[in-house]
Amino acid sequence: MSHAQVLAPRHDWTLADKVREVFGRPRGRLPGSYLDDVATQRQCIILCPQCEGKYRPRRRGYRVWREYLVGGKCDACRAQGPRNVAWMAEEHHACVIGARPVRRGRWAL
């Protein structure tokens, strides 16, 4: 499967590449180490479907936002997409998503 994931640092940057603003992962930096830094800062991690299987935020104390796929830029490959997955630090997950009661499909009185 073709994918924009950069597996090794590029060296053939053009001038246009160099002057383009990069918000998020710096150019030439491997995604894995960048995501480790993001996780250290306990910030939200957005991963596209292609990158999702390549990094495990759960190991860093993250929980996935199950209710929604999100629109945003993948923190690993920088691809903008409408069906990305957001991972939140556990301590933030409770604040922002909250604990939903488990009804198991039964009617509550």
């Binding site: 800062q41 306990r42 910030q43 939200c44 929604y68 796929l69 629109g71 945003g72 604040c95 922002v96």
Partner: protein, 232 residues
């Protein structure tokens, strides 16, 4: 505050914003940084959500120290975001709502008498029964007698007896004072339900989840959003 859903039913859109001031807690509204030249967003104030970007889903630290990373925060920027906020009984996070234990019976089911109603008018807000004959019922408050009683026009279905327990909040979908404003608690993570109805930041009440003193919520849309009309 929590993400309670989206009016349009769509997916959340998350964007990272450069900080003009630190965001210490997740789940707080952030607003356009109009006061500084160096940031894109700052935390809201307790009484204003003017030109909000939405709800911050993580935290970030603003710094002027030269470093490899800049201070950013991730924000859910959907203008139709429904914010679900816990009702606090005061300006401090986690304060339980004041229990109104009626000291005088009301056979007509319209008057809740207790000095604990306080002095901040809750007209156009909502009162609901937490224990007693009318448990599970709510009504919109139409008259507020400071430190004496609150009165509803549409009576509760059964008589209000002494020692029944009620709660009140200054929010409803009435369309007047109670439906358009809210104030946060000190850390911006909850909503202060002890305020005068109709004061604070611009919101549009979507719904109320009325339970007990420590687990009731108000759901609202941030009305003065940076991605909607210029101003409210």
């Amino acid at each position: 505050m929590q993400i309670g859903g989206f009016l349009g039913g769509g997916a959340p859109v998350l964007k990272k914003f450069k900080l003009g001031a630190s965001v210490a807690n997740a789940g707080i509204p952030v607003i356009v940084d109009a006061s500084n030249d160096f940031g894109e967003c700052i935390p809201c104030t307790t009484t204003s959500f003017a030109d909000t970007w939405g709800l911050a889903v993580d935290t970030g630290t603003y710094t002027t120290t030269q470093a490899a990373t800049e201070g950013v925060v991730t924000v859910c920027i959907n203008p139709d975001l429904i914010v679900r906020a816990l009702l606090s009984g005061g300006a401090t996070e986690g304060t339980a709502l004041q229990a109104l234990i009626t000291t005088s019976a009301s056979a007509g089911g319209t008057t809740i008498t207790d000095a604990d109603v306080g002095t901040a008018t809750s007209v156009a807000g909502t009162c609901w029964c937490a224990s007693g004959n009318n448990v599970g019922q709510s009504r919109i408050i139409t008259t507020f007698n400071s430190a004496v009683s609150i009165v509803v026009t549409v009576p509760f279905p059964r008589a209000i007896a002494t020692t029944d327990t009620y709660h009140q909040c200054p929010f409803s979908r009435n369309g007047s004072a109670g439906s358009g404003n809210a104030q946060t608690t000190t850390l911006f993570t909850q909503v202060d339900a002890s305020i005068v109805a109709g004061t604070g930041g611009e919101v549009a009440i979507v719904d109320l989840e009325l339970n007990g003193a420590s687990d009731s919520y108000v759901l609202f849309v941030l009305a003065d959003h940076a991605l909607k009309v210029v101003t409210v």
